[in-house]
């Protein structure tokens, strides 16, 4: 034990250097991870995306610094503080250090205060969520006056076990969600059965849809392309099939689509879960119990199930 203390004391000077180098290295690696973290996320396709990604990169940087700081110290200990075989003597009997303990209480406290202040500000910038109005079961979905400013809408997003249907202000029905780029679109989120969640990873946005309530919601797509809309709240047997596409188009193409679609007759829309259920019935209805999938939605634009998506 004594030799160890002496060894540490003797190397005190070089230890300062090692710590400085390690901290610089750690800062470098943490910044690099923060930079990389953008590539772990889908395409940025809405105004929320870059706020979320910046926040995530910020947290990745700080998190990497803490992680490498702690585990690097652990690695150092494992290399240099191993007891030789058969050595059962004690280490340095340090019981604590009040100053150090106060520092490592205050620093994390300030850190989380900083992070939560930063994210609160992001929250107020995004403000996607409008109001949530309850209505009686079986009654007509009430009209909700959206107090926030928006450019287009409201589009009714109707979720079911297990298909999506979108109803536009001029009355057209679609199986895919078409949106104009760079315009703030407004939605009324409605479910006909259980809780679903409106989730578009490329938009970094998610909102649960609650039975018995209508929720208004706004977002601005910023990139043209095809993005997946996934139900993110478990909704039963064919939950994983409850997906469709969001097609973000230039304003011109979007209005052209509206004009053309309004002339189309109603037809059966996308319903992959329904098809799978029919297959299950044909194969003898094996498996565990499930409610029957909702019938095919009647839509003007039936959509394309296997449309390639950007994200």
């Amino acid at each position: 034990m004594n030799t160890k203390i002496r060894r540490i004391k003797k190397s005190g000077f070089s230890k300062t250097y090692i710590i400085i180098i390690a901290v610089i290295l750690n800062i470098g690696l943490s910044l690099l991870m923060g930079y990389w973290s953008y590539s772990w996320l889908p395409i940025q396709a809405s105004e929320a995306s870059h706020y979320v990604d910046n926040l995530f990169a910020f947290e990745t940087t700080i998190g990497t610094f803490i992680f490498l700081g702690c585990t690097g110290t652990m690695a150092w200990i494992l290399v240099f503080n191993r007891a030789p075989k058969y050595d059962e003597s004690n280490g340095e009997p340090l019981e604590g250090n009040l100053k150090l303990e106060i520092i490592w209480t205050i620093v994390p406290l300030l850190l989380v205060l900083g992070i939560s202040t930063y994210s609160t500000r992001v929250n107020y910038k995004l403000e996607n969520l409008g109001s949530k109005i309850k209505y009686d079961y079986g009654a007509e979905v009430p009209f909700v006056e959206e107090k926030k400013v928006f450019d287009y809408g409201p589009i009714d997003v109707i979720s079911r076990q297990w298909n999506w249907e979108f109803v536009y202000p001029n009355g057209i029905h679609s199986s895919e969600l078409h949106l104009p780029v760079d315009k703030k679109s407004n939605f009324r989120l409605i479910t006909e059965d259980v809780i679903h969640s409106f989730y578009v990873p490329a938009f970094r946005l998610k909102q649960d849809i609650i039975p018995g309530s209508v929720i208004t919601y706004s977002l601005t797509p910023t990139k043209e392309g095809v993005f997946r809309l996934r139900d993110a709240m478990f909704s039963g047997a064919y939950f994983s099939e409850n997906q469709t596409n969001v097609i973000v188009e230039s304003e011109e193409i979007f209005y052209k689509w509206i004009k053309e679609t309004v002339k189309k007759e109603l037809q059966n829309g996308l319903n992959p879960a329904g098809n799978l259920y029919q297959k299950r019935l044909r194969n003898g209805n094996r498996g565990w119990a499930t409610v029957k999938p909702a019938p095919d939605p009647k839509v003007n634009d039936a959509g394309i199930e296997s449309r390639p998506h950007d994200s």
Binding site: M1, I77, N81, T105, I195, K206, I215, G236
Partner: protein, 563 residues
């Protein structure tokens, strides 16, 4: 050596099983000895770890390819629901109750728990609700398949319309589990408050005892909400009431509040004793006092109090108003402060120590490593805008497995190895233990690290099929899961063969400081019997030349004699 005024009936009580304490049959009886109950809990829980693990491998088998091709999606949903339920209620809670039963009385110098019969009752409820839960595989329509959250309306849809259905049995099992845990909690709290050895003031208790007290108080405060919620759900499902049914004016979101008010703290109920295990083991295997004992002890209660006001972070996107999201984001992040205190204290304990890399130490170090990672992703998830993107995706699944398996189960394995010699009287095989650690660490990392990326890219949790872009992360995860399956082989081999024919263990094989190490291995029925030690100093005085108890030599000699 001081004789304490316990109720004489307690000290002198006969072992209720007539053939004496060393009969193997006592493990299959309504035995009231906390040490027997502890082993009953642990063995039962490990059996369910195997069942839950088997279900996990079936899940990973389905997810190794993008389409839903191994099972019908309804079967997949049942399997993952049962996997989560079994792992939480049949593995983690019982095994921690088992460790608590084994460790609390010897660590505080008590002969047994305060209410031995209640203790046995709490244990015997476990096989009862386990059987109910497993029976649900065989009822028409299959087991519960709405996830372990069991959110209405999906959980009360009851497709076949039968009174007896998987969901109903699930709710009964969960309620019984809640009752069992409440009984256990009353017992643990009473024992710790009332039955400590003389001299053992609160600030001389081992940290494990602090964390058990913090965790069990949390059970008492939180569990009634979940159990109440489960009973309301049962009424909605079976009798058509409308607590959560919109048809009758109920509110499905209300259930989420009942559920998470307990089920988030439940994670702390599980992780706190594991923090206790880390705090016990790091000093032993680095031969140093625990750094900042008082801070670490009080931090446990910081976690308990804060964990009661964080539950809404599971509901950031259910339509929760902005002010509430911001508030709960802040309270959730605050938990990083007391946990940080613990993490830094452990690292400072290791610093400059004489590290011995035994199997229990390896599991502790691995657990700490994983916990730092899981803690950081936890703060990310607490951040509202990030959570709105990654919530309900595989990022969450990866995060909570980093806590629940890579930290909690690692700590449990560490504890099993560390105290195995004490309670079985046999040494385990170090080599097999290290193989178990290596396979577990590699398997767990491969299983859950890649899934973070699947989640960041937007793969929802609980899916039976997924878009092909997520395939690579899932293939890696599945390989990891199968390695974890293999890792159970050296563990079982080690435990069974060591218990049957391992080298006999000395009273204190690790040269550890603590009341339990002053007892023979295995300890006699009533631990210290009439010679209850008087505690003089804080625990973990390695290298400080401060004896833990009065007349230590007497106990060391006594423990060797019995042996």
């Amino acid at each position: 050596m001081t004789i304490v005024n316990y109720d004489p009936r307690l000290v002198k009580s006969k072992n209720p099983y007539p053939k004496g304490p060393n009969d193997w049959k006592r493990f299959f009886s309504f035995n009231t000895d906390a040490k027997v109950i502890g082993i009953q809990y642990i063995v039962t829980a490990l059996f369910f770890l195997l069942i839950g693990g088997l279900l996990a491998m079936l899940i990973r088998g389905e997810l190794i390819t993008p389409p839903s091709d191994l099972f019908d999606p309804t079967v997949y949903n049942g399997l993952y629901t049962m996997h989560g339920t079994i792992m939480l209620f049949l593995f983690l809670f019982p095994i921690l109750s088992g460790l608590t039963n084994l460790l609390v009385p010897p660590m505080i110098g008590a002969p047994d728990m305060a209410f031995p019969k209640l203790n046995a009752l709490a244990f015997w409820l476990v096989p009862v609700f386990s059987i109910i839960l497993l029976l649900s595989f065989f009822v028409p329509g299959g087991p519960a398949s709405s996830g372990w959250w069991s959110y209405p309306p999906i959980s009360i849809q009851n497709p076949l319309g039968k009174i007896i259905n998987g969901e109903m049995l699930w709710i009964i099992a969960i309620s019984l589990s809640g009752i069992s845990s409440i009984i256990g909690a009353v017992n643990f709290v009473t024992t710790i408050i009332r039955m400590r050895a003389p001299g053992m003031g609160f600030f001389k208790m081992p940290i494990f005892i602090w964390t058990v007290l913090a965790a069990q108080l949390l059970q008492l405060l939180g569990l009634p909400a979940l159990t109440g919620g489960a009973i309301m759900l049962f009424f909605d499902l079976t009798f058509g009431t409308s607590f959560f049914r919109i048809e009758g004016g109920g509110d499905p979101v209300l259930f989420q509040h009942f559920f998470w008010f307990y089920s988030h703290p439940a994670v702390y109920v599980m992780v706190l004793p594991v923090f206790g295990i880390f705090s016990e083991l790091f000093p032993v295997y680095s031969r140093k006092p625990l750094f900042g004992y008082k801070f670490v002890a009080v931090a446990s209660f910081g976690i308990t109090i804060l964990s009661l006001v964080v539950w809404v972070h599971h509901m950031f996107y259910t339509g929760t108003p902005m002010w509430m999201r911001n508030l709960f984001m802040f309270t959730t992040m605050l938990i990083a402060v007391p946990t940080g205190v613990k993490v830094f204290a452990w690292i400072a304990t290791l610093w400059g120590g004489n590290i011995r890399l035994t199997t229990p130490m390896l599991f502790c170090l691995g657990g700490l490593f994983n916990f730092i990672f899981g803690g950081i992703t936890g703060v990310m998830l607490a951040t509202v805008p990030v959570d709105i993107h990654v919530g309900n995706t595989y990022f969450v699944v990866a995060h909570f497995h980093y806590i629940i398996f890579n930290t909690i189960a690692f700590g449990i394995f560490a504890a099993i190895y560390h105290w195995f010699p004490k309670f079985t009287g046999r040494m385990f095989y170090e080599g097999l233990g290290k193989v178990h650690f290596a396979l577990t660490f590699i398997g767990a990392t491969l299983n859950w690290l890649p899934l973070h990326w699947a989640g960041l890219l937007g793969m929802p949790r609980r899916v039976a099929s997924y878009d092909p872009e997520f395939a690579i992360w899932n293939v890696l995860a599945s390989i990891g899961a199968f390695i974890l399956g293999v890792a159970s082989i050296p563990f079982i081999l080690n435990m069974v063969s060591s218990w049957v024919r391992g080298k006999s263990a000395p009273p204190n094989p690790w040269k550890a400081i603590g009341l339990e190490w002053l007892l023979p291995s295995p300890p006699p029925h009533e631990n210290f019997e009439e010679d209850i030690p008087t505690v003089l100093n804080e625990p973990y005085c390695y290298g400080l030349d401060k004896p833990f108890v009065e007349d230590e030599q007497f106990y060391i000699e006594k423990s060797l004699k019995k042996h």
